[in-house]
Symmetry: none
Subunit: 179 residues, 2 copies
DNA sequence: AATATATGAATGAACG
DNA sequence: CGTTCATTCATATATT
């Protein structure tokens, strides 16, 4: 279920020299490792149970066994219900691209088009798109203001940049539950 | 790395009473799990290292690409850098005081002043201050709601203005997570 | 080490 | 549109 893919995508093919990965590739790698890490934590537990004695399957109230099965399904996906829309990776990329090119474009009827396109990659409503652009613009501007305000702060201040420096979010790659 | 196969194997449908796997199969399974467990421990560590990726020393926002080598290097070491701001005792006191006196005053341009003042006691950015107040307000409110919601016994009058019809109107895209 | 809690940060949605 | 709210995520810290 979530196990394939480590190598299926741009095999980074690193030579031992000075190979460089793009942020995207790195991000993908992170996500995948994260998935494996999750699976692995479970496996470690399971292993412990197994080693600790009995048949993992028959002995206990099949709790462990079941865990393994459902494990695969939830590997990279938080099973927590999502109550608010969250753009998928693909959707986000598209949105960012549009935002960049049409910079100050307060979308209007294009919202429909964009929505239409994005809905091929997960459910989404026009309101979502609208809000997204609103927020994007507002936050970009606010960040700018802050940046321009600080003058000589040579204190090697920590970066408050947060534009796209997303941390690896261990989920958001797999199936988007639609209902 | 051949992780596949672990899950591809249809989980033996076990019943409560009889064991459907032979001892051999079980043994094989154990061995496999054991191996995976080992691999996974490594992966977990690696993942942790990668996720913590940041650069406390040069502060440079690592551009579009990052060398794989450095990635590998990080996997081995514990990047113990703190990647999120933490207010010092002094800063916290000041923040609390300001929060108390200007209670409902959602700071706006005062952020700058506050930041300026606090930066005399350690690293801090306007964003930090902004976030701090946001969180402070939100969490204070939530705590109160919890208190008022269940203590309704004889104190029926101390509810704050509940006139805020702030209700999530998630009527269209609520995703019902079943499981 | 496993779990619980506190909290800085990110972000979708709503308000004026 | 600029601000603010509400919820969620991820990490830091504390506890057993």
């Amino acid at each position: 279920i979530g196990l394939r893919g480590v190598g299926s995508q741009h095999p980074p093919s690193f030579t031992m020299q000075e190979q460089v990965m793009t942020e995207e590739q790195l991000e993908t790698l992170r996500r995948q490792i994260s998935v494996y890490a999750t699976i692995c934590r479970q496996l470690v537990h399971m292993h412990r149970a197994v080693v600790l004695q009995m048949d993992p399957m028959s002995g206990m109230p099949l709790g462990q066994a079941i865990a393994f099965d459902s494990l695969m399904g939830m590997a990279g996906q938080r099973v927590t219900a999502r109550q608010r829309w969250t753009p998928s990776q693909v959707q986000l990329q598209i949105l960012e691209k549009i935002f960049d090119q049409d910079k100050g474009t307060p979308s209007k009827q294009k919202i429909k088009e964009i929505t239409a396109e994005l809905s091929q990659h997960g459910h989404i409503s026009e309101t979502n798109v609208y809000n997204w652009f609103q927020n994007r613009r507002a936050r970009t501007k606010r960040k700018q203001q802050i940046v321009t305000s600080n003058s000589g702060e040579s204190e090697m201040d920590n970066s408050l940049d947060s534009s796209k420096g997303k941390q690896a979010k261990t989920d958001e790659n797999i199936v988007q539950e639609t209902q």
